[in-house]
Symmetry: C2
Subunit: 344 residues, 2 copies
């Protein structure tokens, strides 16, 4: 493999000049530049990123720690983040944490030994008690629900408000006995608890009672769990006419489970989810849901991280206050709540 030295020799210049050409420094005569470029092409020169990283103290790569990529939600989030990072000339390396607190702390505390310039961490296992662990000396952006007021930038969804809006939408459509399908109860503030809170607020605002039987706790927010629970709810004779699912994935399972149980959606039961994953529009019936503007969230998370990374530069700008960004949202009305919104 040709090095800068080899190129320099071949072009009859110094290594420094080659480096200047590579990095588009202005002070290079175009004749010299030509010579160097020719030599580089001839020797098929490639920069050695490891050497450059060592010298610059920067890798041009950020880590993205998410529970998994093989789910619609995180897959789409990852894609949006990769795209946003590209605009900052950053690569993205994905770490799968499996939603375990240990793995999240791992990704955080090591950040893979400074393999990354910064880390975007989607917290679903860590909690408020771990907030101290966020005090690390490299750029971190938290993407998620479980940590607030931490020492790092934070991008979150409007979970409570949006869930209230979703539930309110069901009420508007005439539902009076609305079930909520949520994840396990922990002592953390997580996606489920926040969205559950929004659900309760909507019931209260409408003067509807909160029936504990209508609170359905799943062991995991999966297709299968949603399907099984929906079937179980019908078979057990539970009286309900609406379902608010804390994720679209669960809602998709619920649609399947209700179909199994012979319940018609939206006629007998209306269903709404949360996330607006791509598939929702194409289900039968198409799924009403909350759209939290993922692209914007991804963009902001990357922008914040990139800013922090720049701040660690020698000539970087002043360190600024920690930022908390909450995305916008909208209610997407489709067939599962009586809308007409199938695809196209």
């Amino acid at each position: 493999m040709a090095t800068i030295q080899d190129v320099a020799k071949a072009a009859g210049v110094s290594a420094m000049t080659v480096s200047n050409v590579i990095n588009n420094h202005p002070n290079v005569r175009s004749a010299t530049r030509e010579k160097v470029l020719e030599a580089m092409a001839r020797l098929d020169y490639r920069v050695n990123v490891a050497a450059r990283n060592l010298r610059k103290g920067r890798t041009g790569t950020v880590g993205l720690a998410v529970p998994e990529v093989n789910s619609s939600y995180y897959g789409q989030l990852a894609a949006a983040i990769i795209a946003a990072a590209e605009r900052h000339d950053l690569r993205v390396c994905i770490e799968q944490t499996g939603a375990s607190r240990e793995n999240e702390l791992d990704a955080l505390s090591l950040s893979r030994n400074r393999l990354y310039d910064g880390l975007i961490l989607s917290t679903v296992g860590m909690g408020q008690a771990d907030v101290e662990r966020l005090k690390v000396d490299y750029p971190v952006v938290i993407l998620g629900e479980r940590i607030f007021g931490g020492p790092v930038d934070h991008v979150a969804m409007p979970n409570v408000d949006a869930s209230q809006a979703a539930t309110h939408h069901l009420i508007e459509r005439g539902c009076r006995r609305i079930a909520v399908l949520r994840g396990p109860v922990t002592d953390e503030v997580d996606v489920s608890s926040l969205r559950h809170t929004g659900y309760r607020q909507a019931l209260r605002a409408a003067g509807l009672p909160e029936d504990p039987d209508l609170v359905q706790t799943l062991h995991a927010l999966t297709l299968r769990a949603g399907a099984e629970r929906a079937r179980g709810m019908v078979e057990s004779g539970l009286d309900f006419d609406g379902v608010f699912c804390v994720t679209d994935t669960v809602a998709m399972g619920v649609l399947r489970g209700l179909a199994d149980a012979g319940v018609r959606v939206p006629r007998q039961v209306k269903v709404i989810g949360f996330d607006n994953i791509e598939e929702s529009e194409f289900l039968v019936p198409s799924l009403s849901t909350i759209d939290p503007d993922h692209d914007m969230m991804a963009q902001r998370a990357v922008d914040l991280l990139a800013r922090r990374i720049e701040q660690t530069d020698p000539g970087g700008s002043e360190s600024t206050e920690r930022e908390e960004f909450v995305s916008d949202f909208s209610v997407v009305v489709r067939e599962s709540t009586g809308g007409t919104g199938g695809p196209g």
Copy 2:
């Protein structure tokens, strides 16, 4: 940031000894080891991976170039590959190529400037004409359909056989006018052409005519394209009683489109897909499909790549013949072809 030198000073030993401790070399007295570990902990020492990479000429990271991660299929593939890579102590960095030939060649010819020890490349844009470009001096494994007999290891699906089996299944179930929904016709051997071939073989084997009207070419293998085309087929009065979709994503769209058009599946039309993405089981009706054993494919791809990487080591084993691995497959019968296979 503490370096090995700082630790050495703090522990009263040489940098060499610290290095030995870090890398678990045997020849260190345990007393010395303790001292060093204590100093490392006290200074919060982290190895500088850039320096180590430069020194070792190896990064411990492999690239995975796929068209996108925000699709069920590639998301699930990526997850499987990340998991398999972990077993080899390799990190995975995902490059999204957007299915463009240029980006694929890019990922290949640079391999990001030796940022990766090797590359798993899912080819959907490159073609046989680009086979020369695969002659690079670092480990590459091709995952896909469009390149055969190339100079690198190759992991592929049993596209033709499996598609024949899928179509045969429709025939068995009584279909006589079976449409195929495929991607754009190129002059390459790609997913669509191979699976289309399998479809034709099944028709021929059953003595069924090949009606060109039943060959439906989509501009893209997306949910929307599938849905729109299915609707169009019904509205145009096309006579068909079965659909073979070259991917589950398209099939999912088709189920939606047929529902829009008021066509009952499986009663009036039977549908089968290809890939067995996770969602297929939970659709209404659940989707029959081909399961090509993705985990096995991912595992093999990573194993092959890891082997090549080892071979580039100074003390590495002999270079071996290029390998071509074709996965197994099975037909998964669910409701969309009259099976009972809903979830649970």
